[in-house]
């Protein structure tokens, strides 16, 4: 079955491209790297921009790489502030059609706050990786069906 799948895959099918970012002073990148590797294993193209990025750097990278999704991983409590800044910047650059998802040490009470700001999906601690992969695939496919390219 998998053999036939490989054979029938058109050469032009583009992979889902995800930017994995850590913003600000947060130095805990183990989680981001685990996610990056899991997404790679699921067939995603993962752009990893490394630690201590500014919001501007992340937006610039997302635009230059023309990614399908921006994934932000935060572990030091600034996720609400960062999400607000990030979505503001994306709007400023006319790139707010790129969905933003977040994960890391995020308390349940902030879930609605983040969604109201415009964060598309929040992955709380303990979310199975398969679930993250499935949701990202669905978000990317839905977006591509709306976009011209």
């Amino acid at each position: 079955m998998s053999m036939e799948l490989t054979l029938s895959r058109p050469t032009t099918r583009r992979k889902v491209k995800v930017l994995v970012a850590k913003i600000g002073l947060d130095g805990h990148d183990r989680g981001a790297k685990v996610i990056a590797r899991a997404l790679r294993d699921a067939g995603f193209e993962v752009v990893y921009t490394g630690l201590r990025q500014t919001v501007d750097q992340v937006v610039a990278a997302a635009i230059q790489e023309d990614v399908d999704i921006i994934g932000v991983n935060q572990h030091e409590g600034s996720h609400v502030y960062i999400a607000r800044k990030l979505l503001e910047k994306l709007r400023e650059y006319g790139a707010d059609d790129i969905p933003v998802v977040m994960g890391g040490s995020i308390p349940v009470v902030d879930l609605d706050v983040l969604k109201n700001i415009g964060v598309r999906e929040v992955f709380l601690p303990g979310t199975p990786i398969n679930e993250i992969v499935d949701k990202l695939l669905r978000i990317a496919e839905e977006r591509r069906s709306r976009r011209e390219v």
Partner: protein
């Protein structure tokens, strides 16, 4: 479906500095096929003579960090710089981690710098076709230096390398002796050799090896150019100016000797070849997909079957028209 108006609009916007438009244009070029081949042609006809620099060398030699340092110097001289970094696709999952960009993120917000990562995904020259098409875009949009970074293994990457104006081979201390360096392969093709991480022990030894290889051997691609060997350290910022100076000198040499035009010509020839390859492979895949799905159980007479598919592909190609 990518319409002509949509693409022309992107190109116009990108020309005015809209980076989002350029990002999208590159996505189209990354995946170029017979329907979008005209975009490459359109861009190529607007070439402004960019200096295409290929940077290759083993993984971990510090290519990305060296490029990041070089970008600072090039920007200081007023050049607009584009970087295409190529990372391997996993043969197991066909996914990829694009990590070269991480070393250059300090330049992400500089409006005179544009960095794009691509993977080695794609069949038969697919990678080279993407990279070559992207080079044409950056060239047409006025980037002075277009840097292509690859791990330098695999044929398709060599194809990209071979059509760069200036080829830089990066090595590092402890990466093997002069016999390693004498072996056929990547060390034959350099216009400039760099011993990076020269702050490390044994750097001078590696430098001597490279000097021997560059001076005594019939290395390089002929002509009067003698490939220099430069010691750099991205960590200390050492040798970066000398490196950029060498790039400039080589460009001068290319222009003075008329070789620049030759290299542009071979770049375009490679584009034609890779596009032809792409057209054939795409047609083949469509037909093979339909034919192979009919096969059940123990497949016999497969040479006959293969010929059938090949002939059907040929027939399909005969009827193909330019849109």
């Amino acid at each position: 479906m990518v319409t002509r108006d949509y693409v022309l609009n992107l190109i116009e916007k990108a020309g005015k500095g809209d980076r989002r438009a350029l990002g999208r244009l590159l996505t189209i070029l990354e995946d170029v096929n017979s329907e979008t081949a005209w975009v490459v042609e359109y861009l190529a006809s607007r070439s402004r003579g960019a200096h295409v620099i290929g940077i290759t060398g083993m993984p971990g030699a510090g290519k990305s960090s060296l490029i990041s340092r070089a970008i600072s110097v090039l920007r200081g001289r007023g050049y607009r710089v584009a970087v295409i970094t190529i990372d391997p696709t996993s043969p197991l999952s066909s996914g990829a981690i694009l990590g070269d960009r991480l070393r250059m993120q300090e330049h992400a917000t500089d409006p005179g710098v544009f960095i794009r990562s691509v993977t080695t995904a794609g069949l038969l020259g697919g990678l080279s076709l993407s990279a070559l098409s992207m080079i044409e875009a950056f060239d047409a949009l006025g980037y002075d230096k277009v840097i292509v970074e690859t791990v330098g293994v695999g044929q398709s990457e060599t194809q990209v390398m071979n059509v760069a104006d200036t080829i830089v081979v990066v090595t590092m201390p402890g990466a093997g002796d002069d016999v390693q360096a004498l072996k056929a392969g990547v060390f034959e093709i350099g216009d400039i050799y760099v011993v990076n991480k020269s702050d490390r022990p044994e750097a001078s030894k590696t430098y001597e090896y490279m000097l021997f290889v560059a001076e005594k051997g019939e290395i390089g691609r002929g002509g009067a150019w003698r490939p220099p060997v430069i010691k750099t350290s991205s960590t200390l910022g050492m040798g970066i100016r000398e490196f950029v100076e060498a790039l400039e000198k080589h460009l001068e040499y290319l222009k003075g000797s008329g070789e620049k035009e030759l290299r542009l010509s071979s770049r375009r020839k490679m584009l034609v070849k890779l596009l032809a390859e792409k057209i054939v492979v795409d047609s083949l895949n469509t037909i093979a997909e339909a034919e192979l799905s009919k096969l059940q159980g123990n497949v016999e007479g497969f040479y006959e079957k293969a010929l059938e598919i090949a002939r059907a592909t040929g027939e399909k190609l005969v009827n193909l028209r330019i849109q």
